[in-house]
């Protein structure tokens, strides 16, 4: 055991000195400043037949310094094992191989004195193999088992990275499972066909009804100045009395809470229609004195139509909204001329004389329209025709709520 240990120590000493040998490629100017891509180490192999060292530097190449150093360390340990074995077999003359440091491989640099052609490199491999065979032969001669690690480890290592040696022709890979596929949502467009600006609910501008509360809600005010309807200028024949100004109409139970800045359509409707209702009441009163029953009947008929018209007009004013032209016009129509101007705009330039008759019989007004709705919807009809049609429609029918909405727009157009 003792001689073996001594031999081992000797081998270690030799090996350490061997590691310190400056076995390196001389620097090459053309490679200076470039990152090193290939590393190697030089080795002086001990040739047992001549007991000389042969330096080889074309038998290893590595892609990284750590890989080079790992391989060098492995090779070093294997060589130490050989030295240890041989010295243990009383071959004290056996020398350890000398390993240089791992460094940038200049054998690939054409300008380097160490540059190697492929043939020269193959020759170095051949030389290494020659020495390896001699070492093997001596090991076997020294009774090293032929299938021992000592003998096997003499051989150059095989590539250990499986992917490096994959097949050159591969099959088409199977599709990756759908779960692993992800497409970016940004690839797609978002629809603009949906109108996102439409509010989720319509704006509801309906006012609340004012509920009369005893002792709290003041009685609805009478219009400060209700202008007297223009008297019928001349009584109808046969002592038809002229219409008298009407007393202020008593407000309905319900008045409307008006917007502070805009007129309340209800108030405007009340004021306008009440005044006009009184006007027609006056005509009716006067009409009782008409002697000609035929004329009287026509006057009554015309007044009935007017009452129907005013009722409809009230609904339309209320429904037209505080900002409508109709409400605005009716609201400012305090003077008789203003009222008649509205009437002319609504029902035609020939309507005012019938609207505010000087004679009760003048209230008779035949707009000459048999199908007023058709005329109103007819884009080719003149404004005058439409105005007559509006009179006829309002005087002779009770428009539905939908018709009232439509009439609102018709009237807005006529008031432009």
């Amino acid at each position: 055991m003792r001689p073996y240990f001594a031999a081992f120590l000797g081998a270690i000493t030799l090996a350490v000195s061997a590691l310190a040998q400056p076995l390196a490629c001389p620097p090459v100017a053309s490679a200076a400043g470039r990152p090193c891509e290939t590393f190697h180490y030089h080795v002086q192999l001990f040739r047992p037949d001549t007991r000389e060292f042969i330096e080889l530097y074309g038998i290893n190449q590595f892609a990284s310094l750590p890989a080079c150093e790992r391989a060098r360390d492995t090779q070093f340990k294997r060589n130490i094992a050989v030295v240890e074995f041989m010295r243990g077999q009383r071959r004290d003359w056996w020398q350890a191989d000398k390993f240089g440091q791992c460094h940038c491989d200049m054998t690939v640099e054409k300008a380097s004195p160490n540059a190697l052609t492929e043939a020269a490199r193959a020759q170095q491999v051949q030389n290494a193999e020659e020495i390896r065979q001699r070492v093997r032969e001596r090991l076997l001669d020294a009774k090293a088992p032929p299938d021992s690690d000592l003998i096997r480890d003499l051989a150059p290592p095989l590539s250990a990275t499986p992917l490096i040696g994959g097949p050159k022709l591969v099959a088409m890979p199977a599709p990756v499972a759908a779960g692993n596929v992800s497409n970016s949502p940004d690839d797609l467009r978002i629809t603009k066909a949906v109108d996102t600006t439409t509010p989720s609910t319509s704006s509801l501008d309906l006012p609340l009804a004012d509920i009369p509360l005893p002792g709290i809600t003041p009685p609805a005010e009478v219009p400060a100045q209700v202008p007297a309807p223009a008297p019928v200028s001349e009584p109808v024949p046969q002592t038809a009395p002229a219409p008298q100004p009407a007393p202020a109409p008593i407000p309905e139970q319900v008045s409307v809470v008006a917007d502070e800045e805009l007129p309340s359509p209800e108030d405007v409707a009340d004021a306008f229609v009440s005044y006009e209702s009184q006007r027609i009441q006056n005509v009716l009163k006067v009409s009782s004195s008409i002697g000609d029953e035929s004329v009287k009947a026509q006057v009554l008929d015309a007044c009935t139509q007017r009452i129907q018209l005013l009722s409809n007009l009230r609904s339309i004013i209320v429904g037209s909204g505080a900002k409508s032209r109709l409400v605005a016009s009716a609201n400012v129509a305090k003077k008789e001329s203003d009222r008649l101007a509205i009437v002319a705009k609504l029902f035609g330039s020939d309507a005012p004389s019938h609207w505010a008759p000087k004679d009760a019989a003048d209230v008779i007004f035949d707009p000459g329209v048999t199908d007023p709705e058709r005329v109103l919807r007819d884009s080719s009809a003149s404004d005058q025709q439409k105005r007559h049609a509006l009179y006829a429609l309002l005087a002779t029918s009770s428009p539905t709520e939908q018709q009232q909405l439509w009439l609102n727009s018709v009237i807005e157009a006529l008031l432009k």
């Binding site: 892609a63 095989l158 490096i164 040696g165 050159k168 992800s182 797609l188 309906l206 509920i211 809470v257």
Partner: protein
Amino acid sequence: MPPSEEFVKAVYFGKKFADMKDYANAYQQFAKADGLQPDVRGVLYNMGVLLARAGRFSESQAKVDRYNQLFPAGAEKPLVARLQLELEFERELQKKRQTDEEYTALFTRGRFLYVKGDLVAALKLFQDAEQQRPTDPAAVFNQGIVYEKLGDLPKAAERFHRYEELEPDAGAKASADQRVLGIESEMSDMKTKIICPFCGWRLPIGAMWCPHCWHGPYLTSPSPWSSRPCTDGATATRATYFADNRFAKNDSLPCLFNGTMLEALRYTPARQRQVQDARKAEGWTYSGDVIQAWHDRQGNEIRYVQGAGYLEKIISPSGGELLLFAAHRADAGIWLLDREDLVIDGVKYTSHYTFDAQNRITQQQVVYQNAAACNDVITMTAIATYANDLLAGLKVRGGYSGTLVQGSPRADWEANIVYSYDDAARLTKEELAVTSMTKTYMEKPYGFARQEVSSLYPEMRVRKPIERMLATGDRCGMTGAIVLSNPIDLRPFYAFSPNMNLALPGGVTRATVSFTYPDSYKVR
């Protein structure tokens, strides 16, 4: 009966709250008033209005109905009529909103399915969307995107053209135009390119190797590479024989491609993505379409060092291996290897290729150290001959000089491979014959090697060729009781044929590969 004080207060408060636009509390007060004195006209109406303002339209409608029932000619009638219209309008609005929401939901669901990768289902939803609103460009655009992902480029192009008709925005139109141009270029590539099934790179039809991973060969024209299609009725059987004509064994060679190689590798964007996705799943990374590196969680790494036109090195920083490549450009997109390192079963083979004017390999020289046996440095050369554009034969020579210790053996062998085709240019037979194998020991082996050699070749005499080498194969050494040999290794000559991709076991000197094809199989 005069209203109660509580009623008066509730109505008053209700109005005050309404004035403050606090409609919820206003409603509560009117509801309270209604509870104290039911069915007061104004209260009913006000409740209807406040409920409508709160978006409680069905409750508002109930109040309107109640009002109309009790007060058909009530003073609030015009207002109630308008409220009724408002409620109907709200219903109309709700209906429109629901339709819009349903339409938008098609896009949301389609988007979700698209992101998830369920392209067919996503496409169906965008088609439904187009049916509902045929002029919505987004539905058409998204169909185009999905068709593109599905690889149906003609349909994608048609969809994007339609999109351009519908889209009013000039910028969006221009971007779609660029996309159409890209698709048309892709469609052109589908006619003229194949993909490398390893890295997914697009190659011109006719390229032998992929220049970014050096996988291949991709010989899509009639060649031995089209001899093993994956179709019914196609078979490839390799029989090997010993030197004395004894049968060694039969190998049924697996098929290589569905249909011809050209059909299997023809470029489509989907196929390219399929390859890239598969590699990425394995740990490979890309820069654009160029493969770059692989690594695993254990720290193993492989880097592909891409030069200006082709892959110059494969390095393994962890394992230290280094494979070098040199190539020249032969045609647009076609690179031919001049030098290649190849690792098979851990042994590195270095090949040098020579090509003719038609970019066909005329010669390949291989050098390797057979670390799997006796570490001899072996050189092999293959010379190809062609007849009528078809590979007709391959003459392969190999040999090495052993070490002095081994007795300086000189080994040489020669083999011929002959290729036969039918009238349709389909390979029918590939026959290998080792025509010679010689080994001569120039010196007496040393020491233990002498014993080894005499046990390997008992009749060995220095400078006299070993007899019956063909029958024994090239035995070079022993490890323990195991005999090591240098087989005739044809694997580095992979570029000529996939069918003789073998190292001949000792004593095997003949191999025949026979092929059958269905009548319908065409290689041209």
